[in-house]
Structures are given as C-alpha cells and as structure tokens.
C-alpha cells in the first residue's frame, strides 16, 4: 500500500506538516497571535485528516512487525551511504518510514492529541510564537518515532522530543519549572545515551548481504536487526542468550522504562506534570509515555526475543509494582494534577503487565490500553486545566459542590474519571480486562496482586469525585463559569471515543490484531 500526495508519501506529510507549520509560525509577526494559533490548528488538523485517511485505507490483514513487505505506506530512501570506508564496510542509513498494526493506532492517537493540545493552548499568552513553534516541533518528533523503521532515524526523532519539552516545561511551567524541566531532561537523556550505545553495538553486529552487489552492508534497519541470520560472526550481540545480549536488552529497557515511566524510574513524572502547562501535560501523558511501551514492542521484543523471554517475569513484576505503587501514591495526593500523574504510572503499569504476558489477549489489551489511557488522561488533565484556569489552584480540598455550578463540566469530567476507574461500558474497562485476562494466563499470582490496584483506583477516583464535585461549596468558589465552547470542542472528540470504544471496540482491535498475533508468534518461537 502506497499513497502519495503531490509526489510525497503520506507518512512524510504526516511527520513534517508540523515543521512546515513551525516555519510559518516563525515567519509570522509576533503580534499576530491569532494567526499563529490558527496556523498550528491547521497543521495539526491536517494531520488528523491524514490519520483519518490512513485509518480508512489501512489493510487490516497485513502483519508487519518483522516482514518488510507487509508494512504499509512505506517510504524508503537512502539517506547517508558511504561506499566502503575500510573499517566498517559500506555504511547505510536510510530514511525508512512505514506503519503496521502496532504503530497505526499510535499515529492516530498522536495526531488527535496533537490537535486537542493546540485547542487547549489557546489561552497561553506568554511568548505565543515561541510556544507554538516548539509545540509543533514536539509533535513532529513524536510522530517521527512512531513511523520510523530505521534505528538511526528512530533515535534522531526520539531525541528531537527532548529540547522542545525542556523549554515548554521550563518557560511556560509553574513555580518549580526549572527543577522539573532539568529533571525530565536528565532522566530521558540518560536513557538516550544508553540507547545510543546499544544502537551502535547492534549496528556493528548486524550486516545483511546486499542482493544486488553481494556486499556485506552494516545497517540501522530495524527489520534487518530482527533477523538472526543477519548477525555477523563474532559480533558483540551475536548469538542467543549471551550476556552481552542481556546487557543490551537491559540498556534499552531502562531507556524505555524511564519514558513509560515504570517503577523505579518514575520520579520525574509527577514533577514534570505538576509544573507543565495543561496542554503539555496532555501531550506528556497522552502520547509521550506511550513512546516507552511502543519502543519495548518495536525494538526490545522482536530484536531480542531471547532476552525478552529471559526478563519477562521481571518486567511483569515491575508492572505489578507500578500498578499498586502508583495507585497508592495517587491516593495520598491532595493536588489534583499530581493525583492524575500518579494514576498514569498505575495505568501504564497495566500496559507493561499486559504485554509481558506474551500472548495475544495481553498484547492486544496492552496496546489498546496505551490508546485508551492516552485519551482518558487527556480528558483528566484538561479537566484539571479548566479548574486551574478559573481558580488558580489545584488543591483537591479547595473545591466542593462543583456539580451544582458547572453541570456540563461535571458531566464530562465524570465520564473521564469513570473511564479511568474501569467502569464497564467505557473504554478503560475493555483494555484493562484484556490485559489482566492475558496476564492471568501467564502469571497467576502477579496478576491477582496487581488486580487489587483496581480497587485502590476505585478508591481514589471516587474520593476525588466526592471532594470536588459533591458536598458543600466553599464560599470563595461560588461564581465559577461553566465550560466555554472552545473547551467543549477540546473535550468532545475524546468523550465520544471513550464511550464509543467502550461499547464497540472492535474497529480498533481489528487494526492491530493481525500484527500483534504475529508478534506473539514470532516471540514464542524465539525469533527463529
């Protein structure tokens, strides 16, 4: 499947539209704030349109994962090729984009959350031009990670995310922004260095034979790295179940675990969330965290099936700890935003537990949970933002009885809250159910302990609902205005999706089912 618009592939458009938007934003005069905002809306809106086209045209029967032929919307060009440097043979870095059932959902999520983030950024008044330029750069980085199939390209996009995020938290953030920004930067940069070294080790261990010339070519192509035949004799990461392979797996895992964030690498997240402005929290929880679990599925699992199977139990345990620990921490918060930040840790733990099950149910549940969590936390962070805009406080104990004053807001926020809680009929339930179902087949005890996290979740969510929406209204919170039309526009698509996918999730499951079943099969065979 290929699709080109004006001679340029659809995925390239999808990735670089925000960059085009960024350049326009930079050229616009500083004073013309609305033009800047509308440019951002148009750039991300077009992305949503393209994502819609991809959703419509995507062939649900093709597997992808490790088969280059069955990737869709593929674009591959040679980017850097250096003929025969004596020491490494031919160097090949390619511009290789493509999507399969694993990434298509993430592409849709990114474009959707990207647009909603722009809409909710409307009331940012400080340095509007710089804000939207960085925001659009951030969207490009995230989208790029989800569609690259070349490790080098993957790495570049991965690191491109860092700087805009650093500035967006550091300039537009709350009182402790400097601390939160540098903490985020350092955590993810540590992961980046680990990934860089592993990437180089993989590069020198993998070489495929070019069918045209018979030359042995070192490559960053992720699909070639999945094929055990391509590992060179005596390479650092060649062989099966070697110590170096375990070390490499661990380095990559730490990198991705920092992004997820998995216990014990999670401490940057609450700080970053609390200090970040609302739209950036939405992006952070909605898309950025998914990069971690996506990386595990795209890189760790298929390239190191042996090491994954060796460490999978360990992963499940970390997932379990994250679920319980995140939920318990959330229970203890009296800052609304911090509560949702910890609930994210808990919910991402479910993803990790689900994919660690290494069976189709768990895997499908995990990936679906990535998507659903993206939507649900986006709603929750937007809900916090609404309250914060009106009152400039996020303390849970500062509110009460909001249901009477802001009925529309209460209705919408409640849907989000209950979806997070896992109420049947809303989307969170479906994915949590699948994840735990899959995990139960693989690890009975771990899953049984992990499920208790759901009870704690119910506890803190209901308590929050009680503290904010019910009860007596404090005197200084009497005149809160209900949602503006702009806010409703930001919420609407997310609420529709929450309900729709709760009742009828199969359109989304169909998208990924084939690919994930193939991944499971590939993994259980150990990649051979």
């Amino acid at each position: 499947m290929e699709l080109q618009i004006l001679g340029i592939g659809i995925l390239t458009w999808l990735v670089f539209l925000p960059i085009v938007g960024m350049i326009i934003v930079l050229l616009l005069p500083d004073k013309n704030r609305n033009a800047i905002r509308w440019t951002a809306v148009i750039a991300t809106g077009l992305q949503v349109v393209l994502a819609g086209i991809i959703f419509a045209l995507f062939d649900r029967s093709l597997v992808g994962i490790n088969e280059a032929d069955s990737f869709q919307f593929v674009e591959q060009f040679s980017w850097i090729t250096v003929e025969s440097v004596p020491w490494v043979g031919r160097i090949e870095i390619s511009y290789f984009l493509g999507i399969d059932g694993l990434s298509v959902l993430m592409v849709i999520l990114t474009s959707l959350i990207g647009l909603i983030g722009v809409i909710s950024s409307w009331n940012i008044e400080k340095m509007v031009k710089g804000y939207f330029a960085l925001y659009l750069l951030l969207v490009t980085g995230m989208m790029g990670v989800f569609v690259s199939l070349d490790f080098f390209l993957f790495f570049i996009f991965w690191e491109v995310i860092l700087l805009p995020m650093y500035f967006l938290i550091g300039i537009w953030g709350g009182p402790r922004k400097e601390y939160a920004a540098i903490k985020f930067f350092i955590y993810t940069f540590v992961g980046g260095i680990l990934m860089l070294i592993t990437m180089l080790a993989l590069y020198f261990s993998v070489a495929y034979t070019d069918p045209a010339t018979g030359q042995s070519v070192h490559t960053f192509n992720i699909l070639h790295m999945m094929n055990p035949d391509n590992f060179v004799e005596g390479g650092l990461l060649s062989g099966v179940d070697t110590t170096w392979r375990y070390v490499a797996w661990m380095a990559l895992f730490i990198n991705f675990a920092i992004k997820i964030p998995l216990f014990p690498f999670h401490t940057w997240l609450p700080d970053a969330h609390v200090e970040a402005p609302t739209p950036i929290s939405v992006i952070l929880a909605g898309v950025l965290l998914k990069l971690g679990t996506y990386g595990l599925l795209r890189i760790n699992f298929p390239i190191f099936p042996d090491a994954t199977i060796y460490f999978v139990y360990f992963m499940a345990v970390l997932g379990m700890i994250s679920i319980i620990y995140g939920a318990l921490c959330a229970m203890a918060q009296d800052d609304f935003k911090k509560l949702i930040a910890y609930s994210s840790i808990s919910h991402m733990g479910i993803v990790v537990l689900g994919i660690a099950a290494l069976n189709t149910q768990g895997m499908v549940g995990g990936v679906l949970q990535m998507f659903n969590h993206g939507i649900i936390t986006a709603v929750l962070f937007l809900a916090v933002g609404v309250l914060y805009d009106r009152t400039h406080t996020r303390g849970l104990n500062d509110f009460g009885g909001i249901a009477n004053q802001m009925p529309k807001y209460t209705g919408i926020a409640m849907v989000g809250m209950f979806a997070a809680l896992g109420l049947p009929g809303l989307n969170g339930f479906v994915s949590e159910l699948f994840s735990f179902l899959g995990a139960f087949q693989a690890y009975k005890w771990i899953t049984m302990i992990a499920v208790t996290g759901i009870i704690i979740t119910a506890g803190y969510i209901l308590w929050t609902v009680q503290r904010i929406f019910l009860g007596k209204t404090p005197d200084n919170r009497k005149d809160l205005k209900d949602l503006t039309p702009r806010e409703i526009i930001a919420f609407a698509p997310l609420i529709v999706l929450i309900i729709l996918l709760g009742i009828y999730p199969s359109p989304v499951i169909e998208l990924m089912n084939t690919s994930l079943s193939h991944l499971v099969e590939f993994m259980t065979k150990g990649g051979f």
Binding site: V82, I156, E159, L162, E178, F185, I186, I193, L196, L200
Partner: protein
C-alpha cells in the same frame, strides 16, 4: 640538490604565502595610519590565499625538504581546518571590544597571529622531530604574547605569565624526550626512527622515558588531564578571540602532530599496522595509558565545568573534556579512530567557535562574562540566545546537531574496537556535561532579566557571521556525508 629544493619550494606555497603576509603586515603597520583595520584585511587576504593553495595540494602525496615536511591528505585536511579557524578569528577580532582598546597596536596582533598559524601548519605536516619542535615553539611563543595582548588588564598579563611558565617547562621536558629518542635511534626524522625501532633497540627504559616526556609536551598543548591546569586561567585571561583560537586551532594542530608522531614512529614497517609496533615499547601498555588520560580528561573536565560561573572558564573545561573525547579516537589507533578524530574536529570547529562568538557578543554589550548575568537574555537578544542554545546543545551532542554526529563517530569507533568501558565513561560524562551546558540555556530563557530589560541589538554583520557558524552546525547534524567522505579520503598519511 637544486631540483629537489625547487620542487620542495613548489610544495611549500601555502606556508610561503603566509610568511609573506606576515612581512607585509609589518610593513603596512609602519606605513599606514594606526587606527585603520588595514592589517586585518591583509591578514584575511593572506589567509584566504593560503587556503586556496592548501586546497590545490589536496590528493598529493609527497615528502619535501629531505623528509622534513610531508605533503599528504592528512596534513592538507588539518591545515585546511587551521586556516579556516584563522579566517573566522579575523571576524572575531574585528568585533571584539577588548581589542578595540589596543587599536594602535593591532598590526602586531595580526603579525603574531600569522606566525602562530604558520607554526600550527608546520606542526601538522612536519615529519622531523627537530622541525616538529621548532613549529611547536613558534606556535607557543606567538600565543604567549597574544594571550597577554590586552596587557593593561591584570588577568591578561597574569595569564600570559602563567602560560609562559607552563609552556616553557613542558616544552623543555619534551625537548629532553626528543633528544633521548634521537640519541638512541640515531635519526631525527620519523621514518628513520621508525626503521631503527623496527630493527630492534634494546633500551626499553630510555625509550619509554622519552615517550613519556614527549607526551608531556603534547599533553600540554592539547590540554588533556593531567597537563590541563593552565587552560582555565589562560582562557579566562586571554581576549576571547585568542581563547577561541587556543581552544580550536591549537588543539587541532597538537592532535595532528600527536597522531602523526605516534602512528609513523611506532608503526610496524612489515605489516603496516600500529598494534605490532607498540610492542617494541615493552613494559608499558600505551593504549591503556592514553585511554586512561582520555577517561580522566572526560571525567575531570566535565566535573570541574559544573562549578564554573565565567563562561570562558566553563568553555575551557568543556574543551578539556572534548580533548578527552578526541583522545578516545587516538586510543583506537587504527583508521577508524583517525577518521572519527577528523570528523570530530570538523564539527567541533564550528560549534566551539560559535559558543565563543556568542559569548564575545554578550561580553561586548554586557561587559560581563558571568553566566549568572545571562539571566533573561533570551528575551533581550532572542536570536543570539537561540544561536547559543544550538551551539551548546551541539557541544552536548544531542541530535539533530553536528555535535551528535561527532560523538556518534567517536563512540562507534570505540564500540567497534571493543573499548566498551571507555565508551561507557564517555556516555556518562556526556550526561554530566548536560548540566553545565543547560545551565547557560536555563539562565537565558527561564528567568526574568535582572536589572535592565531593554532589548540588545547587534549589527547586521554580527548576525550574518552568527549564521555562518550556525548553519554548518545544524546542517552537519542532518547531512554529514560530505565530511564523512572528506575524512575518509584524508586518513591517508604519507609513509603509512
């Protein structure tokens, strides 16, 4: 005899042009009015002409003046980088506020600068230990004076004094090492020494001692740990253009010399690899020694930079750390290391000069070099601050900037040669470096301006020159094939 000399002269045009420039500057300085910039333009013209002659030499492999000087792609590459730095330094100097106060002596300044550049060009191309030492001294002596050029500022005078003391001692030690080496091998040119070593010399103690002494001299020039103590004081005291040339060109020259000396002298003549020849020096594991020096430079350079408040001092420690990364390339003695050193220098030139340049622009206007005083500059001078951010991000090594490609190649050479522990240290120290580079960025953007809040404006020339440094820094991060092939073609060294 005559023919050889004539032929040699024809291969020596770049250096001849530069020496002539030097003479013209002296004469012009006597004749024209003191306050004009004429000497700067003469120097600039001379440098451009030299650059053209250097490029004409590309691809040639020859040895001239009776094995004194090699004309090979390796030398051409390094000479081209040195001249390019020299050209950039002219633009620095023209805009420097510090030099403005010494306008009447500016002829001297460019005269010394030409002397320094000639010295550096000879350093990378000499194949004879005596010439090597003379070139080394020519560079050093010119730079002693240049460091103290703004002599009425006490720190500048002090820096110059310190530099002379350090420089004199270390070059003395190096000269002693050279004399020992010449004494036991009976030859002054590297090929002769190489032959003698391959033939077998049974003096391991003296041999090792002489090498250690030579390493002291070279370590001083490259400012790697433990010979780095001079660098911060000298960078801080010297005028910024001179600090910049010391951090870039002087380092390039010293590394060029170091690589040539080690590779040619200790190469195994039979199999043309370097590893075999190291064994001549039994008793000392040279790779390990250099690796240790590299690791120390990375660790100490980066850790000490954390605490600095003066931007020049911070950049001094950062350049010590970068010397460590580059030294990593030398540890991997084979071609892969060589090519990665060359790529590193190519990119390092732009990003480091860029950082010094913006520091100078700020110092011109703010009259301060303190990083704490940079607060709020992002709002007062947005373009320059964004430029500074990109240079610092590049120095850290984050894609998509050139610095990432530089680090990538050094790291990949390390990984492919199996020096995993060294690469791990390099990775860790890179993370440390993030703190101090980002501190500057944080101060510029995350705080409100202290005191004055008015916008700072810079003239058009300053902006254009900023872009001249900025564009390659960014472009090389995305499209680096040209320098890759350039470096690949230049690893060829005469006699190897």
């Amino acid at each position: 005899m005559i023919e050889h000399s004539l032929h040699s002269l024809s291969q020596f045009y770049p250096e001849i042009v530069l020496v002539l420039t030097l003479c013209v500057i002296i004469v012009a300085d006597l004749l024209v009015k003191k306050e004009s910039n004429i000497t700067a333009y003469i120097f600039l013209g001379g440098m451009v002409l030299t650059g053209i002659f250097i490029l004409l030499q590309s691809g040639r492999i020859d040895s001239v003046f009776y094995n004194m000087i090699a004309v090979d792609p390796f030398a051409v590459f390094f000479k081209a980088l040195i001249v390019l730095t020299g050209i950039f330094i002219v633009f620095f100097s023209l805009q420097s506020r510090e030099l403005e106060e010494y306008k009447s002596r500016i002829g001297e300044y460019y005269m010394l600068l030409s002397g320094m550049v000639v010295g550096m060009m000879l350093m990378v191309s000499s194949t004879n230990l005596l010439l090597m030492y003379l070139a080394f001294e020519l560079t050093s002596i010119s730079s002693y004076v240049l460091v103290g050029f703004t002599k009425e500022t006490p720190v500048s005078a002090e820096a110059s004094m310190k530099y002379i003391v350090y420089g004199a001692v270390s070059s003395g030690v190096m000269l002693y090492g050279i004399s020992l080496l010449i004494g036991i091998t009976g030859a002054t040119d590297m090929y002769g020494i190489n032959e003698a070593l391959n033939a077998g010399i049974n003096q391991p103690v003296i041999l090792n001692l002489s090498i250690v002494m030579i390493v002291v001299g070279l370590g001083f020039k490259t400012a790697v740990v433990p010979f780095h103590f001079w660098a911060p004081d000298i960078y801080q005291g010297a005028p910024i253009p001179i600090a910049a040339i010391l951090a870039v060109a002087s380092k390039i020259a010293a590394f060029g010399l170091m690589v040539r000396f080690f590779l040619v002298t200790f190469m195994d003549a039979e199999i043309l690899i370097t590893s075999g020849a190291w064994e001549v020096l039994s008793g000392v594991h040279w790779n390990m020694l250099l690796a240790g020096m590299a690791a120390l430079a990375m660790i100490i350079g980066n850790l000490t930079a954390l605490k600095q408040d003066n931007i020049k001092r911070m950049l001094a420690y950062s350049s010590i750390a970068h010397a460590g990364y580059i030294l990593m390339g030398l540890v991997i003695v084979a071609e892969e290391g060589l090519a990665s050193i060359m790529i590193y220098f190519c990119i390092y030139l732009f990003m480091n000069l860029g950082a010094f340049y913006v520091a100078m622009l700020f110092s011109n206007k703010l009259k301060t070099e303190s990083i704490e005083q940079y607060k709020g500059l992002g709002f007062r001078a947005p373009l320059e601050s964004v430029g500074m951010t990109i240079f610092l991000v590049s120095l850290t090594g984050i894609p998509p900037t050139g610095g990432f490609i530089a680090k990538l190649y050094i790291f990949s050479a390390g990984v492919s040669a199996g020096w995993i522990w060294l690469v791990a240290i390099a990775g860790l120290t890179t993370i440390i470096s993030l703190f101090y580079y980002m501190r500057v960025v944080r101060n510029m953007f995350f705080y409100k301006p202290v005191g004055e809040e008015t916008a700072i404006s810079f003239d058009m020339g300053a902006k254009i020159f900023l872009f001249v440094l900025l564009i390659p820094t960014l472009l090389l991060g995305i499209y680096f094939e040209p320098i890759l092939s350039f470096a690949k073609d230049s690893v060829l060294m005469f006699g190897m």
